[in-house]
Amino acid sequence: MNLTLHVWRQNSASDKGRMVRYEARDVNPDMSFLEMLDVVNEELILKGDNPIAFDHDCREGVCGSCGFMINGVAHGPSHGTAVCQLHMRHYKDGDVLFLEPWRARAFPVVKDLYVDRKALDRIIAAGGYISVSTGSAPDGNAILVPKDKSDRAMDAAACIGCGACVAACPNASAALFTGAKISHLGLLPQGQPERRQRALSMVAQAAAEGFGHCTNIGECEAVCPKEIKLEVIARMNRDFLKASWTSRQKPLAGSDG
């Protein structure tokens, strides 16, 4: 099949950027979307052009490196699938596709479809962990975790940090990402001691990074390749509200305050 691609090309963070049209010829339906771009890129390189930059690594849908908008949908049309596992059999001859990078102030464009998502790491650094230094752990079975809680924690922990939720959200909110980590750790007994502090710190960090707020509309849930549910945002809100009014701890030091 043959496709027409309109791809966002931007040389560097300071470049203004524009959409450029490309033709992808003889696309095999068994190719993955990224393999289709690989082929386009090889042609561009041989013609002396710059290949289209896009982040990718594992190509198994779990490292969270890949992701861009295809016709206005993060990771493209296939539900619960990162773009690296989207296959061309979902398209037909003559389709016109618009490829754009994730757009958010907190995700500056590095080049073309490649954005910098270190803001997500900083949200984790603010409190997305259980503080247990190596060596101080009790026996694994000393901590009993009910199976349903463990399963729900796993559902939330499946987040791959790709940023599609931010990209799809009309407010560029990282609530689904932040809520997923708060839910994963907050559901487990191991996560209880820091639960309130974690919610306060991570929520504050997400705002400081320039992500927007959540308006509970569910675009994030619809595009999440790991099908994380909006419920995690409610849990984050609950933990944050409780912590805001009841926590006796002072905010963590080592901050701007």
């Binding site: 560097s12 290949p51 596992q85 962990y129 190596t134 079975n141 975790v145």
Partner: protein, 637 residues
């Protein structure tokens, strides 16, 4: 080159305790004055960086990915072994040790393996405390499954995403240290050279992949945790970015490379579908617990699987290995798949595939049980192939998955360059010639959480290091060399893309240094690799310039190193006149076609020393002693 394995004397059960007691400790107040660079942020790198920072060292950690959480450990599916014996089924540290040495076909160092088995239990405790959501029983205790040829249930798992969850645990510990200033994280940064001063590793030279800036980093010790080199085959289950550049450039600076030809071919991957294919996708081998592997009995039988009656199917693993059946170790399962496909009995369009059939299990356990165990894997299979594995058997074929070889390290995990430590898949130490399933995660975390924090401290406490600046001549020379290589690659401006060279190299390696090897084939491969490498340096076309993000340049630099490593792999494979584990030389097999070891002549680690200016690499041998697990012919009949 002198190879001193530094294995403690005395009973193996107490070796690690004794080694730890003999280590010199760094005064707690002085730790922050020591700087350590950790290259790589996978299970080994992230756990090492976090733990070293917890102890108080000043740590710099770098990864080429945009975030440490994206390291390729994230893609490990099946699980992590630990000798907890929670199932009361006869497991013990000694049994895990025994299984690992035997599974490695007696080409690993006993003391290292014993330590790994010994530490395994602490890893589970640590990860559980971090909030890794391991599978649980209804009573809230940890759940186990048997995995990859083990006859006890010692594998802990988090659905089919165990690697992801363990890595996120280590990543979170790492970010916690980033937050308090213990670790400086440099993402999107690639190590391009190791700097050795007065015979010791004293820093590295890097390229910032977003800006193109070349930078020097001084340290008191360098830890490489950069994973395996399976991408030398182009098609592998590794991530696209996984590469050998860090270990290869350290090798060129004097670190011996051990057993480079020991590569693992994973039996259950989705078969290749076309030339454009960019990587192979692994289906967790846990699938073999409930799936039955078969091909048609008749060669060339192209009927769809549901029209082949039971009597015309060959469940060849169950037939040949009645006691292990579909759960034989990876090397055995892979070789048998290749053998039936070579017979013309392979399935799928390419004929390179065998069926992995769940019909019996679905019938016996119900569809829901299968969904619960493998749901995400089945979905992934359907996404990639467009076929529903609940209705049709999966098609699978072996693919390059893991490299047991790596930089040579002693018991302290230090390479032949003092101050350069190598952990995780990047070193050679624990898996011999074949790695058992669910052992890679165990080794990465063992090295990172529990070994390197001790041994690195011991090195620092015993070593007097001069204070250095990045302006030192050796740093300047490395920066110049790295810059010159970049310029050279960009200046060639030939007619072939990096990927086209890489595909061709991969094909050579798969054909001649893959699942089965011959002396003559390896000789051919060496000649072909040299010719291709020459062409690469004359005719490659690298897009763009030295500044800013340039993925074409990144892959060109990595491929340049793969060429050199590929040649060493073939030399090593040609030199090892025996079959063992993943290294199968057709000349050396039993009448039944099983691997035939030669313990008399090849019971050693082949540690290769780099020779400059195109001279042949020098072989150093570390003899292997088996005082506890006595070498025997592996039998899974």
């Amino acid at each position: 080159m002198q190879l001193d394995s530094k294995v403690p004397s005395g009973p193996i059960e107490q070796a690690w305790d004794r080694a730890r007691f003999d280590m010199k400790l760094v005064n707690p107040a002085n730790k922050r004055k020591y700087s350590v660079i950790v290259v790589g942020s996978g299970l080994a790198g992230a756990s090492a960086a976090a733990t070293l920072a917890e102890l108080g060292y000043s740590v710099k950690c770098l990864c080429f990915q945009g975030s440490p959480r994206r390291a390729h450990s994230i893609a490990a599916q099946g699980g992590i072994n630990a000798a907890k014996n929670y199932q009361n089924d006869g497991d013990s540290v000694y049994r895990l040790f025994y299984d690992t040495v035997k599974g490695g076909d007696f080409r690993s160092r006993e003391a290292n393996v014993y330590r790994l088995a010994h530490i395994s239990t602490a890893i589970i405790d640590q990860c559980t405390a971090q909030g890794v959501p391991f599978a649980r029983e209804y009573g809230g205790t940890l759940s186990n499954r048997s995995f990859g040829g083990a006859q006890v249930s010692r594998t802990f798992y988090a659905r089919g995403q165990t690697g992801q969850q363990l890595l996120l645990g280590a990543y979170q510990a790492l970010e916690r240290q980033v937050h308090v200033g213990g670790v400086t994280m440099l993402a999107n940064t690639e190590m391009l050279d190791l700097v050795v001063i007065d015979g010791r590793a004293r820093g590295i030279v890097t390229r910032n992949l977003l800006t193109g800036t070349i930078e020097s980093h001084v340290a008191d010790a360098v830890v490489l945790a950069t994973g395996g080199y399976g991408n030398v085959y182009y098609l592998s289950t590794n991530a696209k970015g996984s590469n050998c550049t860090a270990i290869w450039r350290a090798h060129k600076k004097g670190a011996a490379f051990a057993n480079p030809c020991f590569t693992q071919i994973h039996p259950t991957c989705i078969p290749v579908s076309g030339d454009y294919q960019s990587k192979l996708t692994l289906m967790s081998e846990s699938l073999r617990n409930d799936g039955r592997i078969w091909v048609p009995i008749k060669a060339g039988d192209k009927r769809p699987p549901d029209q082949i009656p039971e009597s015309e199917r060959d469940y060849y693993l169950e037939r040949r290995y009645p006691s292990f059946g579909n759960l034989v170790p990876r090397d055995v399962a892979s070789r048998n798949a290749k053998a039936v496909c070579d017979d013309g009995r392979g399935v799928g369009e390419s004929g390179l595939g065998v069926y992995l059939d769940f019909a019996d299990s679905i019938h016996r356990l119900g569809r829901q049980a299968i969904v619960e165990r493998y749901g995400n894997l089945f979905e992934m299979y359907e996404r990639i192939t467009g076929e529903d594995p609940y209705k049709f058997p999966m098609r699978i074929y072996p693919a390059i998955h893991y490299t047991m070889g790596g930089l040579w390290v002693d018991y302290q995990l230090m390479s032949t360059i003092p101050g350069l430590f190598v952990i995780g898949e990047a070193n050679f130490s624990d898996h011999g010639a074949n790695r058992l399933g669910a052992s890679a995660l165990m080794q990465g975390l063992s090295d990172g959480y529990f070994v390197i924090p001790y041994t690195l401290g011991n090195y620092l406490a015993n070593t007097k290091l001069e204070k250095l600046e990045a302006t030192h001549g050796n740093f300047r020379a490395s920066e110049a060399a790295v810059t010159a290589m970049t310029e050279r690659l960009l200046a060639i401006n030939g007619n072939r893309t990096v990927a086209s060279f890489h595909r061709e190299l991969g094909k050579i390696m798969w054909d001649y240094c893959g699942m089965s090897r011959t002396a003559a084939g390896l000789e051919t491969a060496i000649q072909k690799i040299r010719r291709l490498k020459d062409e690469f340096w004359r005719n490659v076309k690298v897009a763009g310039g030295p500044e800013g993000l340039n993925q074409s340049l990144e892959s060109a630099g990595r491929l340049a190193d793969f060429f050199e490593l590929a040649e060493l792999m073939c030399i090593d494979a040609r030199d090892r006149n025996e079959s063992c584990g993943g290294h199968f030389r057709e000349e050396f097999q039993t009448p039944e076609g099983e691997a035939l070891r030669d313990d008399e002549h090849y019971s050693y680690v082949a540690a290769w020393e780099y020779a400059a200016n195109g001279a042949a690499p020098v072989l150093n041998r570390e003899p292997l002693e088996f005082r506890y697990v006595h070498p025997s012919q592996r039998s899974y009949k």
